[in-house]
Symmetry: C2
Subunit: 186 residues, 2 copies
């Protein structure tokens, strides 16, 4: 049965987007081939991707473009090829390849997917979805890439999550560009 993983870049003050839903600060890394290999490897191993609507639309406007193919060819190919689920009650159509729109309750839909025999699931971005799935205890792995930038304002991933869940640190890795990869399990 598939596990559910969450991957996000976060700032030193705990934000995954700035106040305008912009995440370009997370990609402004100095050249670091070690780090790029890690990101590409991570993207390759991704099974299906899970999004809220806001993150989905942002990613759908970037990854299929020639610019993305040029900047990060391996990651772009993996992102475009992966099966994708987006939670939305308003989205009528989703043009990004291999997308399924789910209009039910995110926790219920994910619980159903986790009982099936589909691919591993990874949530990217999608703060409100992460909060709902954390609250429902459905996320198995939390992967954070901690960026050494102070944003001053923005959106946190876990806003309003009750119960103060305590995670287990599975492993961590510091990169030369100052980013720290942190992998927690429940």
């Amino acid at each position: 049965m598939p596990k559910l993983n969450m991957f996000n870049s976060v700032s030193l003050d705990g934000y995954f987007t700035d106040a305008n839903n912009d995440v370009s600060w997370a990609h402004a890394a100095p050249d670091d081939s070690e780090h790029m290999e890690f990101i590409a490897g991570n993207a390759k191993g991704t099974g299906a991707l899970v999004f809220g609507r806001v993150t989905y639309e942002m990613m759908a406007s970037f990854w299929p473009t020639p610019m993305a193919a040029q900047m990060m060819p391996e990651v772009a190919a993996a992102m475009n090829r992966a099966p994708k689920y987006v939670f939305s009650r308003s989205l009528q159509k989703a043009d990004w390849a291999n997308t399924t729109v789910l209009d039910g309750d995110p926790a219920a839909e994910i619980a159903k997917l986790k009982r099936g025999d589909g691919p591993q699931l990874t949530v990217l971005g999608s703060g409100s979805i992460v909060k709902q799935l954390t609250t429902a205890g459905l996320i198995d792995d939390y992967q954070l890439l901690l960026c050494p930038v102070i944003l001053g304002s923005g959106r946190t991933l876990f806003d309003g999550t009750p119960g103060r869940p305590v995670l287990k640190l599975a492993n961590s890795r510091a990169f030369k560009n100052g980013r720290v990869f942190l992998h927690y399990t429940t």
Copy 2:
């Protein structure tokens, strides 16, 4: 000339206190002698401590007590012995040993201390002071102890900091209890 260091425990969602200014979650570590040695060593090396009023009053109500002496004898002794500065315009007296109340602008007062030949300075807690000193570019070292807990709400250290400062990762260390120490420089 003394450098200014900031040390704080933060949650996975970037908060240094919960919404009620409580930090007990940061101390709820499972027994870990390696980690306790590190904390005690860190406290021992502390020169002077710098606080905002809220953090000062919280710490002043704990560290001088017999309970603190029993729970963490080395850290308590170091905390009580250290010279302390608290920024406040309302505080009339400060009973905790070796305290100086500063009622001027925090950035100006700290800049003056940094031009002198006093001991190293460390800010603990004190979100609004950390923000002001970060904005003024006065903090040399940022030390974060990342705790594997999701608080869901609370106060961030850098609320409203402008300019998106990017720090350099100097070193990091993962502890068996799931905490990760992160040391950044400017």
